[in-house]
């Protein structure tokens, strides 16, 4: 497992993306999967940056793991902020017209659709959100 710890701030999203992309390039991850993972980072780390510490500053860890036998990538996003399970929210209605449309919940919905699995646990006072993608 390789880990990056940074302040949970929007301006650190490129740093997290660069860290994960470096790991993905080292395992010859296909470009499409890399782009899908980059989008997931934007959604999930962006959520943490916006909401986890309620305007105060705090740290978040991004833990990268790759199982070479099963070809499964897992990336865990860990913060010590307000308990929040993004998987508990209802899926947005993606059939609504432009006028009726909101954006709430769309990011996590997108991540659910493009990753193989996503899990949440509250562990030792931390939010641990993990995405899985087989390559």
């Amino acid at each position: 497992m390789t880990e990056l710890k940074v302040q949970a701030a929007v301006e650190n999203i490129p740093k997290v993306t660069a860290f994960v992309d470096g790991q993905l390039e080292a395992i010859d991850c296909p470009m499409k999967a890399q782009m899908q993972i980059d989008v997931a980072i934007d959604e999930l780390f962006g959520n943490i940056a916006h909401y986890a510490y309620g305007g105060a500053s705090g740290e978040a860890a991004v833990q990268f793991h790759f199982d070479a036998d099963t070809r499964m990538i897992s990336i865990a996003f860990v913060d010590s902020g307000t308990p929040f399970d993004p998987l508990a929210q209802e899926d947005p209605d993606v059939t609504l017209s432009a006028e009726e449309r909101g954006i709430g919940g769309l990011g996590i919905f997108l991540v659910r659709k493009t990753m193989d699995q996503i899990t949440y646990k509250r562990d030792n006072g931390q939010n641990v959100l993990t995405i899985y993608k087989k390559i």
């Binding site: 499409k32 899908q36 980059d38 989008v39 934007d42 940056a49 017209s97 432009a98 990011g107 919905f109």
Partner: protein
């Protein structure tokens, strides 16, 4: 992300290069706020756009709403990743994609 502008009378084309995400979506929003009042049609060229996240979708939705009262918004040269995002989120049914 870099934004290249090309204006032809009341038709504006913005070509985006890079990523349309949480960090860069405000740049597009700012560009649109400065230019949409003076134009009739807006074209977004995504030929060099790597990917889009929900932060980018939010900006596209508001641009779509604003331009639908005029000549409309169309999006060109969408790659496979962006197309997937549009399809999964239902934006493919809302936006005009060429």
């Amino acid at each position: 992300m870099t934004i290249s502008k090309q204006q032809n009378g009341k038709a504006l084309t913005l070509a985006l290069e890079g990523r349309l995400d949480t960090v860069t979506a405000p740049e597009l929003e700012k560009e649109l706020r400065a230019s949409t009042a003076a134009i009739d049609t807006l074209t977004l060229d995504f030929a060099k756009l790597d990917y889009i996240s929900s932060a980018g979708l939010r900006v596209l939705l508001s641009a779509h709403k604003e331009m639908s009262a005029k000549g409309g918004l169309k999006i060109q040269h969408v790659n496979e990743i962006v197309q997937e995002v549009f399809e999964v989120t239902g934006f493919g049914d809302i936006l005009t994609i060429e």
